[in-house]
Assembly symmetry: C2
Homo-oligomer: 186 residues x 2
């Protein structure tokens, strides 16, 4: 996490150490949950190793994969973290996972004492915004096949490491259709 935080060139060494001093190690087995629907998200996880996926359940009972986090990234049910309202997301380990947990109260406390902490929180929100914008663009204008092809180009690790049934809902299509697209692309 230290290297990751340094890569933004925003926080000082001391500020980074303060974050690290608050972090707790937390391990999950494959299939275990980091947060479940209905809870209020007040923890941010840094993924040291393994893969997490976030999904929500539709009224019809289908699981929709919203987000997938690999090594060296942050993961939380962000809109619940922001708003303090119960989340609709479930965040689950799809491999054994080693996390470093940061509590919201600690993050907020650092943000109150250090302007840089606040700047960093703003930067995170902005980065998340830009990532979602790319997704909106791709849903708006691309066919399912194009979305799959772009994922193959930009995030090959998704296709290599994530079960296809999760990828299908991430792309907004059915597993049947994803299987068909893959067959057509050989």
């Amino acid at each position: 996490m230290k290297e990751y935080l340094q890569s933004f060139h925003l926080l000082t060494e001391d500020e980074i150490d303060t974050f690290l001093s608050k972090a707790e190690v937390y391990n999950l087995e494959r299939g275990e949950y980091f947060i479940r629907e209905g809870a209020i998200s007040n923890t941010v996880a840094f993924v040291e190793s393994g893969i997490l996926r976030s999904f929500y359940v539709t009224p019809e009972g289908d699981e929709m994969t919203y987000c997938i986090s690999f090594q060296n990234s942050f993961m939380t049910a962000y809109s619940s973290y922001i708003s303090g309202l119960p989340t609709v997301e479930n965040i689950q380990a799809i491999t054994p996972v080693r996390l470093l947990l940061l509590q919201k109260k600690d993050i907020e406390q650092i943000s109150e004492t250090s302007t840089n902490g606040l700047r960093f929180a703003k930067l995170m929100a902005e980065n998340e915004y830009m990532e979602l914008e790319r997704r909106v663009f791709s849903y708006q204008r691309e066919s399912a096949r194009e979305r799959y092809e772009n994922l193959l180009l930009t995030r090959p690790e998704f296709i290599e490491q994530i079960p296809l049934k999760y990828l299908a809902s991430y792309l907004g299509i059915t597993p049947r259709h994803l299987s068909r697209l893959r067959a057509e692309m050989i």
Copy 2:
């Protein structure tokens, strides 16, 4: 704009007045542009009256409406504003529009002198994130008809006031299909 800023209960009266003192009135006729593709976004517009739409052009030459802003909301090519990179968005007045413009350098200067300014910037980023999350959810799991029905419920002013050809691309469908959905819904 003053009332709008007050509604967040975050900025002090003085801070709000500082923002207002930097704002410039700017009027656009129907069809005129606030920003064009390729420019770097360093201005935020508060819409005092009228309607703006943001669109980008696909490689095939189709205009895709990304975002629509009514009275009493902020509008900018946000990811370019954040990143400092050229935008892909065009922001156009679709009615005569009265704007209050805030320059990025002024906003940043206020954020440097006032922690509340920075908090406000963070809040804006978070709100934009949450709005996009809702859109991603809706593209992921809803059919075109459901997206249209939800828009009808949650943002009836969109259907009432926005040309359908713009709404179609906002929903990620063709005008032909939107017309069909509307015909089927009577």
